[in-house]
Amino acid sequence: MNVLVYLVPLALLLGLGGLFAFLWSLKSGQYDDLDGAAVRVLSDDDLPDNARPSSTAPERHRS
C-alpha cells in the first residue's frame, strides 16, 4: 500500500487547487454578474473601433 503515501496527498493537493481556484474566482467578482458573463462573450471588444460592426451606434438602440 505504499502507493497511498503519494496518491492521497496528490488527491488532496488537486482538491485544494480546485478550492483555491474557486475562492480566487469568487474574490475577483466572477459570480457577481452571471447574466452579464453569458452575453459579454458575444461583444467584439477585442477589435479596433473601426473594424467593429456598427452595432454600438446609439441610434440603433431605440426599437
Binding site: 500500500m1 497511498l4 492521497v8 488527491a11 488532496l12 482538491g15 485544494l16 480546485g18 478550492l19 474557486f22 475562492l23 469568487l26 459570480y31 457577481d32 454578474d33 452571471l34 447574466d35 452579464g36 452575453v39 459579454r40 458575444l42 461583444s43 471588444d45 452595432s55 454600438t56 446609439p58 440603433r60 438602440h61 431605440r62
Partner: protein, 742 residues
C-alpha cells in the same frame, strides 16, 4: 436644464483613490447595451472605469478628474438610457454576506468530495479486506479535512444557533449544530479507538446541503431587493433646494435636511413633508389620501411628500428629511399594526419548535434505552449519534426554502418583487382581497376621456396648446399633441392659456374661461377641461382610468373563491362607478387610514385572512395590518416598504399570479414537509435499532434532500389549473393573461 444638479452625496471613493459612483440604469434590453453604455461613458474625459452589471442593471463609474456626476448622467441620457445615482449601503453588506455563504459552500463542497473519496474506500474495504491500519489512516486524513472545514463552513449555523439560544428560542440551527459537533467529536473518538465507523462524511455533507439551500434563499431575496432598489432610485426624486445665495440647486431628496427651503414648481411632485413658507396653490393628494379632488394651500399649511402641486409655485420649509417623510399619525398607526403582525409564526419555525426538542429527546431516549438493555456506553452513544444525524433536518430545512426560491423566481418573472420571505405561506391562506381604488385598481396617472364624436384634429390642436401649460391636467392632453408647441402663449393664472392659431383665438382652460357647457356623456368623477378655437368648442374630461385588465383579474379572483372588496379614501361618487364596473359589491369610500385598519380588523375578527392591495401613503398602515399585502411599483415609497411584495407594470395581472403562485408553493411546501417527515418515520426506527452505518446515513440524507429539491422545482412551472385556463380559451381574457406570463 440650466439649473445645476448636486449629486455629491452619491459619490464615494474607490479602493484606488478614484471618485466612484453607482447608477441604476433603465432601458437595458439586450446584450449590445453593455458595450454601448460602457464605451459611451468611458469616452468622457477622466473616466477610468465603467463596468455594467447586467444582472442588476447597475453601472459603476470611477473617474479621476474632469468629469462630474451629472455629466455621466447626461451622457447616458444622450445614449437613450435613464440613469440615476444610487447609494446602496445595505445591499453592499448583503453582497458580502452572499459571498461569505458561497465561500462556506465552496469549502464544504471541497471537504465533502475529498472525504467521500476516502469514505467510499473505507466502506468497500469494510466488507472486503481493508487492514485496520489503512482504515485508521483514512479516518485520520478525513478528520484532518473535516474538522477545519466544519469549523469554517459551519459558522452560519453555529452563529445563528448561539443567537437563538441566547434569546431563549430554538431554531433549526440548534439541532444542526449539536448534530454536527457530536458527530465529528464521536468520529474522532472512534478513530482514536480504531473502530470501523466514522461519520466525518455525513457531518460535512449535511453542512454542504444546508448551505446550498441557504445560499439559494439569500440570492433570490437579494435579486428581488436589487430590482426594488433600482425602482426606488429611478424615481429619481429630486428637489430644488434654495441655497444661501437664493439660487435653487437640484439635489436628491436624500440630501434634504429639516429646515431647508425648497421650491416646488407647478405640476411637480412634492419631494418632502413641509410647511408652506410662501405661495398659493392647490395640491392633488391622491397618493397620500386617495382623495382625487385637489386641496387648496396657503402659507402655513402642511404638505406631504408625494402630493402633486397644482398651478402655483410654492416655497416649502422642509419638516422631515428625505428618508423620513411620513405623517405622524400614519406612523403611529403603522407601529401598532406592525407590532400585531409579529404574532405570525412561519411554518418552518413552527415545525422547528416542535421538531428540535423531539430530535434531542429521541436521541437521548434511544441512548438510555440501549444502556438499560445492556449495551455498552460506547454503543449507546454511537446509536444516539446515528439518530441525530438521521434526524438532522436536512430535507426539512430544504423543504420550505427550496420551494420559496423557485416560486419567488417564477413570480419575479411575472413582475412581482417579494419583500418578505414568508409572504407565500400567508398569501396562500388568504380568503379575502381588499383593493384600494386610486392608483391600484386605477392607473397611477389619469387618462383623457372624450365626449362622443370628438373631432381628433381639435384634440390634437388642444394638445399642442397644452404643451405650453404646467398645469398637472395639461400633461394628459399634451400627450395627444401632433406637432411642436405653439408660440406666443399667454397664461391666465387660475383660468387657462390662450394663443392665436390660424388667425383665430384659441383658449384651453376652465369651462367659464372658454365659455362652454359641460356635456352629459363624460364620467361623473372627471375633471373637465374646455378648448375653444374660434367658434368650435370641445369639452374633455380627465379621469382615473381602470388598469387595462382590472375587470378580468377581479373576475378571476372571484372565480378562485375569494371575496373581493374595495376600501378607498376617495369620495363615494368616485368609488361607486369603479365598483360597479368591476362587479364589486362591498365597496366603502371616504375612509381615513384609521378607518381602513378598523375595517380590516373587523374582517380579521370575522376569521378572514385578508390580502390588501394599495399604493397610497394612507394605505401603508392598512397594508401592515393585513395578513399579507401588495403594492404597485408606482406607489408611495413608504407604502412599498411595508408591502410584502411590489408589482410592476400597468396591469393588475401580477396580483392574480401571486395568488396562484402562492397556492402552488404552499401545496408543494406541505408535500415536501410530508416527504421529509415520511423519510424520518422510516429512517429513525432503523437508527434507533442500531442498523444505520455511515453508508446508510449518507444515502438516506442525500436521497431525501434530492427528492425534496426536485419536488420544489415543480413550483417553477405553471400549475395544471393555470394551463387549463390558458388552453381552453373559453375566455379571451384568460388567454391574454397567460400570454403576459410567458
Amino acid at each position: 436644464m440650466s439649473e445645476a444638479i448636486d449629486y455629491s452625496i452619491f459619490v464615494g471613493t474607490s479602493e484606488d483613490g478614484l471618485a466612484q459612483m453607482s447608477l441604476a440604469i433603465d432601458g437595458i434590453d439586450c446584450a449590445a447595451c453593455i458595450g454601448e453604455i460602457e464605451n459611451g461613458v468611458k469616452a468622457l474625459p477622466g473616466v477610468v472605469r465603467a463596468r455594467l452589471n447586467y444582472s442588476t442593471h447597475r453601472l459603476t463609474v470611477a473617474w479621476s478628474e474632469g468629469t462630474s456626476p451629472d455629466r455621466v448622467v447626461g451622457q447616458l441620457e444622450a445614449l437613450g438610457y435613464r440613469a440615476h445615482p444610487f447609494a446602496g449601503r445595505a445591499e453592499e453588506s448583503e453582497a458580502r454576506h452572499a459571498r461569505w455563504l458561497l465561500r462556506c459552500l465552496g469549502v464544504a463542497g471541497f471537504a465533502a468530495m475529498n472525504i467521500m473519496l476516502l469514505s467510499v474506500s473505507v466502506w468497500s474495504g469494510n466488507v472486503t479486506d481493508i487492514t485496520p491500519e489503512t482504515r485508521d489512516f483514512f479516518h485520520w486524513i478525513s478528520a484532518l479535512i473535516a474538522l477545519p472545514a466544519a469549523a469554517y463552513a459551519g459558522q452560519p449555523f453555529f452563529q445563528s444557533a448561539v443567537r437563538a439560544i441566547r434569546s431563549g428560542r430554538l431554531n433549526m440551527d440548534v439541532p444542526i449544530t449539536i448534530g454536527v459537533t457530536l458527530a465529528l467529536g464521536m468520529s474522532v473518538v472512534e478513530t482514536a479507538m480504531s473502530q470501523p465507523h466514522a461519520y466525518f462524511d455525513s457531518a460535512i455533507m449535511l453542512l454542504f446541503f444546508l448551505l446550498a439551500g441557504r445560499y439559494l434563499d439569500h440570492e433570490a431575496r437579494r435579486r428581488t431587493r436589487a430590482t426594488a432598489g433600482n425602482i426606488a432610485a429611478l424615481r429619481g426624486e429630486m428637489a430644488h433646494r434654495i441655497g444661501a445665495d437664493g439660487v435653487p440647486v437640484l439635489v436628491p431628496v436624500q440630501a434634504l435636511q429639516p429646515g431647508d427651503t425648497i421650491l416646488i414648481h407647478p405640476g411637480e411632485r412634492v419631494a418632502a413633508d413641509g410647511v408652506v413658507a410662501s405661495g398659493l396653490s392647490a395640491v392633488d393628494e391622491s397618493l397620500v389620501t386617495g382623495e382625487t379632488l385637489p386641496r387648496a394651500l396657503k402659507a402655513g399649511d402642511h404638505v406631504y411628500a408625494g402630493s402633486l402641486n397644482g398651478e402655483g409655485a410654492l416655497h416649502l420649509t422642509v419638516t422631515a428629511g428625505g428618508e423620513n417623510t411620513l405623517v405622524d399619525d400614519v406612523q403611529r398607526l403603522l407601529d401598532g399594526a406592525l407590532a400585531e403582525k409579529g404574532a405570525y409564526v412561519r411554518l418552518a419555525d413552527r415545525v422547528a419548535r416542535l421538531y428540535a426538542p423531539m430530535v434531542h429527546l429521541t436521541a437521548l431516549v434511544s441512548a438510555i434505552g440501549w444502556l438499560l438493555a445492556g449495551a455498552g456506553l460506547h454503543d449507546a452513544v454511537m446509536i444516539a449519534v446515528a439518530v441525530l444525524i438521521i434526524t438532522c433536518p436536512c430535507a426539512l430545512a430544504l423543504a420550505v426554502p427550496a420551494v420559496q426560491v423557485t416560486a419567488t423566481g417564477r413570480l419575479f418573472r411575472a413582475g412581482l418583487l417579494i419583500n418578505a420571505g414568508d409572504m407565500l405561506e400567508r398569501l396562500a391562506a388568504v380568503d379575502t382581497v381588499v383593493f384600494d381604488k386610486t392608483g391600484t385598481l386605477t392607473l397611477p396617472e389619469p387618462a383623457l376621456a372624450l365626449p362622443r364624436g370628438a373631432d381628433p384634429d381639435m384634440v390634437a390642436l388642444a394638445g399642442r396648446l397644452a404643451l405650453s401649460s404646467r398645469h398637472p391636467l395639461a400633461g394628459v392632453i399634451a400627450a395627444r399633441a401632433k406637432g411642436p408647441a405653439l408660440e406666443r402663449v399667454t397664461e391666465m393664472s387660475g383660468q387657462g392659456i390662450e394663443a392665436i392659431i390660424d388667425g383665430r383665438r384659441a383658449r384651453l382652460g376652465s369651462l367659464s374661461f372658454c365659455d362652454a357647457i359641460a356635456p352629459s356623456d363624460l364620467p361623473a368623477d372627471a375633471s373637465l377641461i374646455a378648448f375653444r378655437h374660434g367658434e368650435k368648442v370641445l369639452v374633455m374630461g380627465v379621469a382615473q382610468a381602470l388598469r387595462p385588465d382590472a375587470r378580468e383579474v377581479v373576475a378571476e379572483l372571484k372565480a378562485r373563491g375569494l371575496d373581493v372588496r374595495i376600501l378607498s379614501g376617495d369620495r363615494p361618487a368616485a368609488v361607486a362607478p369603479v365598483a360597479e364596473a368591476l362587479g364589486i359589491v362591498a365597496a366603502e369610500a371616504g375612509l381615513k387610514p384609521a378607518d381602513k385598519i378598523a375595517a380590516l380588523d373587523a374582517l380579521k375578527a370575522a376569521g378572514r385572512r385578508v390580502l390588501m392591495v394599495g399604493d397610497g401613503l394612507n394605505d401603508a398602515p392598512a397594508l401592515a395590518a393585513a395578513t399579507v399585502s401588495l403594492s404597485p411599483a408606482s406607489g408611495a415609497a413608504v407604502t412599498q416598504a411595508h408591502a410584502d411584495a411590489v408589482f410592476l407594470g400597468r396591469r393588475l395581472w401580477p396580483v392574480l399570479a401571486a395568488v396562484d403562485g402562492a397556492r402552488t408553493a404552499a401545496r408543494l411546501m406541505r408535500q415536501n414537509l410530508a416527504i421529509a417527515v415520511g423519510y424520518n418515520i422510516i429512517a429513525v426506527p432503523l437508527a434507533i435499532a442500531g442498523f444505520v452505518t455511515p453508508l446508510v446515513a449518507a444515502l438516506a440524507m442525500s436521497g431525501s434532500s434530492i427528492l425534496v429539491t426536485v419536488n420544489a422545482l415543480r413550483a417553477a412551472r405553471p400549475g395544471r389549473k393555470e394551463e387549463a385556463v390558458g388552453d381552453d380559451g373559453a375566455t379571451g381574457e384568460a388567454g391574454a393573461l397567460t400570454e403576459v406570463a410567458a
